[in-house]
Every structure is written in structure tokens, then in C-alpha cells.
Symmetry: C2
Subunit: 397 residues, 2 copies
């Protein structure tokens, strides 16, 4: 490990390796080889320029492109390029064998380069360790959970000040900029990491009025048209007018871990219709959260939400209008879109350590979106909301 | 094209395709197949969920996963997954043939999927179109240049207000948050796109005092240690104290295009040493910019900067201390790190349409970084600064 790693983090990293190592054997690989920022952070507690090689047993070896004297440790090796790695492993009497790479999470160029290395040295094609890593990351360790609790609390505290940022005549974007600024001042690192190349976002979105119903290219719960064709997500410059609802969904990055929390506002007095639909979303969230116990199948939770929305007469407006999100919740952590998803055909069981954002939302034509989103930690005794702040629909005055 | 494309953009897109199409033939491919946000934007003027298939001749075909009625056009096709594309091409009597994929820019999972398709339908391995796209993107069209001029001007105007954001007792991070906020309020979309997986950044960095010399895992000109091991770049919480210099380097995103501009401040009266080194950087930038004519080899410009820094006695402190950036400029555009680089072993010639950030910087031990960065457009008659604002070292009071 890096010499700067605290004993607390070191003990926690051991838990993460323990979680992954049996899976390396399961992939018929000798080691997992990692180089993307999120997985480096997950396996070592820090982002650096280089590689982590985690064998089936024992601690990982670290290969750094820009090693400093402070990084020096028996298992930290300076390299100029990854082609040096096999020889260093051999020189250290470490087992060579097939590597599992990050698969879907890796850029093609890196995959080709590491594959060639794996084939030349180990005479075998690499396996894909992407699922193994995603599964491990979906079950947060105590150390990770503590960070997310801290982030959630800071985010919740910042959110309680959002309604005071509103000034009559603002656009959704002007309001969004002030919310972002408060989230940054509350300590968020800002960076919004999304797994995969198909979604992009700055820090989150503020959706007002009809923009809540915009069809989105991205698989967010509600997208919004965005301000520009180069980033078609979120606020679109709508002027905030009486009778509209405004959904603020800006994430918080605490030491790399993203918590997600949305709150709904109305410009002036909310329409009765908005209050009723909002209340339904809150009830759905509470009911699903209560049912989100270890062992329950995720799809059941999704179906529960759909059934409640339908029973209340919102089937056509729940999770979007013309385009509907096929989920009401998603794992979050180092990426905003970690496993598990609470959606259609989600056959996996909820586990202790899952951190899941539950976001039942309804889009009301001509008014806007209503609903709530909170981040929950799944414990032995059930799901606990770690972004606690008032859920009621708040008036902007 | 999309029905919403303006005639002006349509004419410009035609120029971009014309630039790329001869290269498709050069790769012995029949078409270029693109799906990453930046390249979709480059080829169609907008980010969407899907694919662009650009043949050797004629307009591209667009395949959209979430097509709306407003997108309907003869060359826009709704798909659920890319496996439907070959049949649609055949049904439309379009030539099939080997595809060039985005190569290094593409996620491995997408590459595998498209490669399989290419192999199954066309019985050939795909080529890599990454270099072709990067080369084309490095030569901005008039439409793109106009956007970057607009962004540069807005950025420059915002920067003139930075020194007023300072309050005694601030940390580098507090100052950074206010600068970011001003850049956002000046219309930046915020998103900071970087090509490749090895660098991450939020909106830029503010480097004060000794943090300017921090060894960085990233290949930015100066890195900074950052606030957290999960994002080791930029400000590190340094309290701004008299005698320090502060380098503010926050990018501006105008309709997807990033302009880059850094300015240097001193807390209170600047040390003589800082003034002298700063002046040297300004002179280097002016000299290099003047020499940055179409046809000149990039490495010569880099060497010119090194020679000037050495002649002034800054060889050991130019572009870093323990770790030195091996470049003094970089292309910018849809990514912050576009071609060309103005660095060591950069054998390419400067072209009309290149947009290049020139950032000669010196790190003074115990004081901080000094220097300037501006974004230049290369025209027939030379390089023009598109981020015009005072370059002098400014006092924060």
C-alpha cells in the first residue's frame, strides 16, 4: 500500500480485496489488472497514473507512472509504461497468469495494449473483470458508507438553503447556478462521474415546467432538454413562472462518492394537482424504502412503485410522459450509476451495504415534475435515508 | 441531417465531412462509424444517443435510439440497438464495407459490439478512425472558430472580474469557487471534456504558493495536489498569504467548445522575482504566438520557448520544478486536449484553423506559479489571441 494510507483505510481496502479475490478465481484469471480512475480509487484509496495488479491472494502490486519518493513502498513500482509490468512481476516472484481487465469500463486503446501484454506474457486472452468490480463496488464497506453518510448530511444541509436562493424573474438556469454554487461551497468536489460513454452531466439538473417532460437521449430518471445541443440535459432556460414546479437534482461529491437528492419547489402557491402528485411520490418512496430489505428482489420494489402510482391514477405520468425511465432507483457511489438498479427486469437481491437513490417522480403536463429523491444505505435492519431534509413541496417566493 | 439544423450549420457540417471523407478511403474503409458524444457533435452538430455512419461520399446516415417526431428526416433512422444498422443500410441501397471505428476514443465494450457487427456483416476487422477524427477536429471550420471566439471573449470578460472576488483570509479553494461561479454565470456550460481516461478535472484549477510545484499524476501544464486523493488536481486548500502568487486557470465551455485562459495574481504586493518571471512568460507567449504561422513545425515553437526561458535563467523552473510538462501549448476545442500539441517531438506543422492554448509558466519555489495562458486561432496571417484581457500580474487586495 501507499505509505500515506491510514491504518483505517488500509483495513478497509483489505475488505474490498477480500470481496473481489474469490471472483478472480471464478473468472479463471490469475489477477485483476485495473487502470481507470474509479477502480484505482476503489482498490487503493487514491487516483494516480498507473495500474493496480490484484492477485487471487495477497495484497496488490502498484505500478506508477509518476512515482514520487513519498510513494515508495515494497509493493509500489515505478514504470514508464505497462510493458514493463510482466518482468517486474517475475522479478518479484509473483504468480503470472491470465489477467482480468476492466472490460466495458476501459477505453479500447488501453484494452488492446493490456490484452497484447497478457497474450504475449501469459499466452492467454484476458477475461472481463468489469462485472466483478461493479458488484464489489455496489456493496459499500463501512469506510465508504461513512464517507457517503458525511456527504449526504452535507448535501441535505445545503439543500435546506436552496429556496432562499430564488429571486423572482430568475430562469431555471440562474437558479441552478446558485444551487450548484451552494453545493460546491458545502464541500462537494463537483466532479460527476458516470459509468460508460453514453451519459454526460455537469453537476445535475434543475427542471422547471414543461422542460420536465423533454425526451432525453440519456438514461436519467428525467432528462430535461438542456441549454445547448452539445449537452442536452437539465435546465433549458425556462423562466420561472407562477404555477410551475421546479425539480432540483444536483449531486454531491464527497471524497469521490456521489450522493443524490432531489427536492421539488413551486413558483408561488403550488397547484393542488402538484401537491397531490408530490404526496404520492413521497408515499411511494417511503413504502419502497421500507420494503428495501436485504434479500428482496429489486424488480419487486420497482413493481411496487408502479402499482402505487397506477392505483393513485398516475400510471401515464409516473417517471415521465412520452418517454419513461424504466427504473425508480439506482445504486450510487464512485459513479452516479452504480449497481443495483431498481427497475424493470432487475432480478438481483438487495444486499446489506448497497447505497441506492430512490427517486419516484411524476411529470404533470403544463406544470412540471414533482417527487423526491434520497440516497439510502441498506443495513441489516433496512434502508436508512442518508440525505435527510424536509421532503415537502416548497414554495419559492 | 436533423430537421432542426440551421442552413449555416448544415453548410459547415458539409465542410467537416469533406475533410474526413478522403481519409476514410485512406484507411481502406467504406465508412466511419461514430458514437461518442464529442464525435457525434462534431459530425452532426448535436449530441444524441446513437450512431453516425459517414460513407466515403455523400451525407451521413444517423441512427437514433430515442428518436422523436421532430428528428424525422430521410437519413435519420430509429433503432433499438446497433445490430439493426447493417440491414437498414442494405435496405437503403447504401454501400456496405469495412468500418472505421473511433478506436482509442471508444469504450472497449462498444468497440467489441461494433467490431462484431463489422465482422459479421462485412467480413472484415474494423479500422481505427481515431486519428482521422482528431486531425479533422484540430482544424476548426469557420462556424467552430466563431463559437470559440464568442467563448473566448466571454471568458476574457469574466476574467477581468476575478480580482474583485478575492477577500483576505480566503483559501485557494474559496477563491476558485467564486471564479467558477463567475465563469458559469458568464454562460459556460461547465462541462470539461478531456480526451482519454487518464485525466480528470472539474472546471480548472487555482494554484497558490507551493501547490504550484506539486507533482501531478495528470499531464496538465501544472497540476496542483488537489483537495482529495480522489481528484488529485488543482487547489489544495492553501490559505492565500501575502507574497504568494495565485494562478487561476478555469476553462470556458461555449456550446461545447473549450477555451483556455490563465491569469496570475499576487496576494498583496508581488515579489520582484515574480514580476520578472511573469514578464518572461508573457514575452515567451508573444514571441511564440508571433512565430505560430501556418507551416511552422510545432516542436520549433516549443524549443523557442525553452531557449528563451533558459536564456533568462529559468531553465530549472520553466513548466514545473521536480516534474516538468513537456509542452507549452495544446490544441483545444470539443476536448481540452485536442491536437496539435506544442511540445517535445511534435513534428506536425501548424495549420490554418488550429486553435491552440499557449501557456508558458514558471514555478518559483516558495512563491508560486507565474505566467499566462491564452487561446489562439491560427489564421492565414498568423495567430490571433481570442481570450484578450490584461496579462499583467495583478494584485489581490
Amino acid at each position: 500500500m501507499f505509505p500515506t494510507t491510514s491504518p483505517e483505510l488500509a483495513a478497509d481496502l483489505q475488505k474490498r480485496w477480500d470481496e473481489i479475490q474469490p471472483g478472480i478465481k471464478g473468472l479463471d484469471a490469475g489477477a485483476l489488472m485495473v487502470c481507470t480512475p474509479v477502480n484505482l480509487l476503489y482498490l487503493t484509496g487514491r487516483v494516480f497514473n498507473g495500474f493496480v495488479w490484484l492477485p487471487r491472494k495477497g495484497p496488490p502490486q502498484i505500478f506508477m507512472r509518476r512515482m514520487t519518493p513519498e510513494d515508495a513502498a515494497p509493493n509500489v513500482h515505478a514504470i514508464r509504461n505497462p510493458e514493463e509490468i510482466p518482468k517486474i512481476l517475475l522479478d518479484n516472484n509473483l504468480p503470472v497468469g491470465k489477467w482480468a481487465l476492466e472490460g466495458e469500463e476501459l477505453a479500447w486503446g488501453n484494452h488492446v495494449r493490456l490484452s497484447r501484454l497478457c497474450e504475449a506474457s501469459m499466452n492467454s486472452q484476458p477475461a472481463s473483470g468489469s462485472g466483478l468490480l461493479r458488484r464489489a463496488r455496489s456493496i459499500k464497506t463501512p469506510y465508504e458508507t461513512a464517507i457517503m453518510r458525511e456527504g449526504g448530511l452535507r448535501q441535505a444541509r445545503a439543500i435546506t438553503t436552496f429556496s432562499r436562493l430564488y429571486k423572482p424573474g430568475m430562469t431555471d438556469h440562474q437558479f441552478a447556478l446558485e444551487c450548484e454554487h451552494v453545493i460546491r461551497r458545502a464541500g462537494s468536489l463537483g466532479l460527476f462521474r458516470i459509468n460508460g460513454q453514453s451519459m454526460e452531466c455537469f453537476m445535475g439538473s434543475v427542471l422547471a415546467g414543461c422542460n420536465a417532460a423533454a425526451v432525453s437521449p440519456y438514461d436519467f430518471a428525467l432528462g430535461g432538454a438542456g441549454l445547448d445541443p452539445s449537452l442536452p440535459v437539465g435546465q433549458n432556460g425556462t423562466k420561472l413562472e407562477p404555477g410551475m414546479t421546479v425539480m432540483v437534482d444536483v449531486a454531491y461529491n464527497c471524497r469521490g462518492y456521489l450522493t443524490d437528492c432531489s427536492r421539488t419547489y413551486s413558483v408561488g402557491k403550488p397547484p393542488e394537482e402538484a401537491l397531490a402528485a408530490h404526496k404520492c411520490c413521497v408515499e411511494i418512496q417511503h413504502t419502497v424504502a421500507k420494503a428495501m430489505q436485504p434479500g428482496v428482489v429489486a424488480e419487486k420494489l420497482y413493481q411496487m412503485a408502479l402499482d402505487m402510482a397506477a392505483a393513485a391514477g398516475y400510471a401515464d405520468r409516473f417517471m415521465g410522459l412520452a418517454q419513461k425511465a424504466k427504473f425508480i432507483g439506482h445504486g450510487t457511489g464512485l459513479y452516479i450509476n452504480e449497481w443495483p438498479v431498481i427497475g424493470a427486469r432487475a432480478a438481483h437481491e438487495i444486499c446489506v451495504g448497497n447505497v441506492i437513490a430512490l427517486e419516484p417522480k411524476i411529470v404533470l403536463p403544463g406544470i412540471g415534475a414533482v417527487g423526491v429523491e434520497d440516497t439510502f444505505v441498506v443495513t441489516e435492519t433496512g434502508a436508512e435515508n442518508i440525505t435527510p431534509c424536509a421532503q415537502k413541496l416548497m414554495e419559492l417566493e
